[in-house]
């Protein structure tokens, strides 16, 4: 009997190693390492494939709120549901300086959800 193969592969992306040590800004038209580009080129291909995604946030020079809001809050605007993101997306930071960023990114996701509900 042939069963369809379900993709269970988990993908891990390190923003510093795979994207840039210097992420900044909201839109790609205004910066090379923008939140929009990270979302579209790194997050969406994995989530659209129904795979789990772990994003390591350590190692960059820091994040501006505009990058985080666009990269993560933008997922709600792309049409993903909060429950789906909670299931598939894992944001991690081990360095003490970076501990605030996963929580902040989730805050932007929740805010975007609340804005969309209104």
């Amino acid at each position: 009997m042939h069963y369809p193969v379900r993709k269970l592969e988990m993908t891990t992306i390190s923003i510093a190693k795979d994207f840039s040590r210097y992420p900044a800004g909201r839109y790609t038209s205004k910066g090379h390492f923008s939140g929009e580009r990270f979302r579209k080129e790194y997050i969406l291909p994995v989530l659209n494939d129904d795979r789990e995604l772990t994003i390591i946030m350590d190692g960059t020079v820091g994040y501006g709120s505009s990058f985080l809001e666009e990269a993560f809050g933008g997922l709600i605007r792309e049409g993903f549901e909060l429950e789906y993101l909670k299931e598939k997306l894992k944001l991690v930071a081990e360095d003490a300086d970076f501990e605030i960023y996963p929580d902040e990114a989730w805050e932007y996701i929740l805010e975007a959800e609340a804005r969309q509900a209104n």
Binding site: R21, Y22, P23, A24, G25, R26, Y27, K30, G31, H32, F33, S34, V61, G62, Y63, G64, S65, S66, E69, D97, E111, A114, R115, N118
Partner: protein
């Protein structure tokens, strides 16, 4: 035969005429605009170049500088069109504040990068040591092609008392690497300085605001059609005051104009300020914008950036944040004391300044 002789004679005559014209051209040197009033626009800096102590004359000086650069200044000589020279006299400056040095340097940098004609700094060697020192530090003279030989440090101050300004960095896109490098340079100057995330973030968001909002095409700029839609940033270390100062400058429409141009922000500002009718004070709008950024997360975009810019004061618990934008001049200290004033005229952009004691960004105690 006769025709051949005639043709050769005409040919010989033409050659003689061309040679005579060539000789005449050589004997008369090519025309270059001089420093007479009809061929040169002269802009003289006031004795005190400071927004705090001589705001009207300071803004007038920067206005004249931009008018000279961005308005038509052509004239005709012998049928040819030339551009008037622009000459800046800085030797009369007795006192110059750091924000003004930053703005002057940014204007000259924009000028040399985008207008293509290097302005002449009249009698630069006669400028005060402080003016020379600050402009050299900011990298302005290398843009203008002035040699460092004329540079002398302020002889009245010992080297450990000298203010050091970092070379002005700029970009027309969001560039975290440049901000990071600026902080590295400051670390080289003052080894105890270590950049913190909140500080990097504040500077990053200030530059993001420039790129996202300051040069919005729907906003009227003070000088239309001006090139170089950039942000400029630098930092300074003052050993005598044990203070670090960071600056982000742009030549855009100003924070108050750009906020009032966005319907959701306009409504939010009206809620805080009452009716905007009769509000003349740009500093009130800046203060209200911080208040909105602090209390409301529902507003998309700008609010979070402003919160990050101000967050440095909360994180360090010391120093001050000053924003000069449009006609407004807003200063807030870490203990929430606010000073606001209004300038007589739009400064032609926005300057964000953070001033922090060195203890805030290092282990050193003041």
């Amino acid at each position: 035969m006769e025709q051949i002789i005639k043709k050769r004679t005409v040919y010989w005559c033409r050659r003689q005429l061309d040679a005579a014209k060539k000789r005449q051209r050589k004997s008369r040197p090519e025309f270059k605009p001089g420093f007479d009033s009809d061929q040169c626009i002269r802009v003289t800096a006031p004795a005190v170049l400071s927004f705090s102590n001589n705001s009207a004359a300071t803004i007038e000086f920067f206005d004249k500088l931009k008018q000279g650069v961005f308005t038509n200044r052509t004239f005709k000589v012998r049928g040819k069109i030339y551009r008037k020279r622009l000459s800046i006299e800085l030797k009369g400056i007795e006192r110059i504040s750091l924000p003004c040095a930053v703005i002057l340097s940014a204007e000259l940098k924009r000028w040399s990068s985008h207008i293509g004609q290097v302005p002449s700094l009249q009698d630069f060697v006669k400028c005060s040591d402080r003016v020379k020192s600050l402009l050299i530090d900011l990298g302005t003279l290398s843009h203008l092609g002035i040699s460092k030989k004329s540079y002398k440090r302020d002889r009245q101050l010992k080297s450990e008392e000298q203010i050091t300004l970092l070379p002005l960095t700029s970009a027309n896109w969001q560039n975290a690497k440049k901000i990071y490098k600026l902080n590295e340079q400051l670390h080289e100057v003052f080894s105890k300085f270590s950049a913190k995330h909140f500080h990097h973030r504040a500077m990053l968001e200030a530059t993001n605001n420039v790129i996202d909002h300051a040069y919005d095409e729907s906003l009227p700029l003070k000088y239309a059609g001006q090139p170089g839609k950039q942000w400029y940033a630098t930092g300074s270390y003052d050993p005598s005051k044990k203070a670090l100062r960071f600056f982000v400058y742009d030549q855009g429409a100003g924070i108050p104009s750009s906020l009032l141009n966005k319907p959701d922000w306009r409504r939010a500002l009206e809620d805080v300020l009452g009716s905007l009718f009769g509000v003349q004070h740009d500093a009130d709008i800046i203060e209200a914008a911080f208040e909105i950024g602090r209390s409301r997360t529902g507003l998309a975009e700008r609010g979070k950036g402003l919160r990050d810019i101000r967050n440095v004061l909360d994180q360090t618990g010391s120093g001050y944040l000053r924003i000069i934008s449009g006609k407004g001049d807003y200063l807030e200290t870490a203990d929430h004391v606010v000073q606001k004033r209004s300038h007589g005229s739009h400064i032609g952009g926005t300057l964000v300044e953070w001033s922090l004691p060195v203890s805030a960004l290092s282990g050193e105690k003041t």
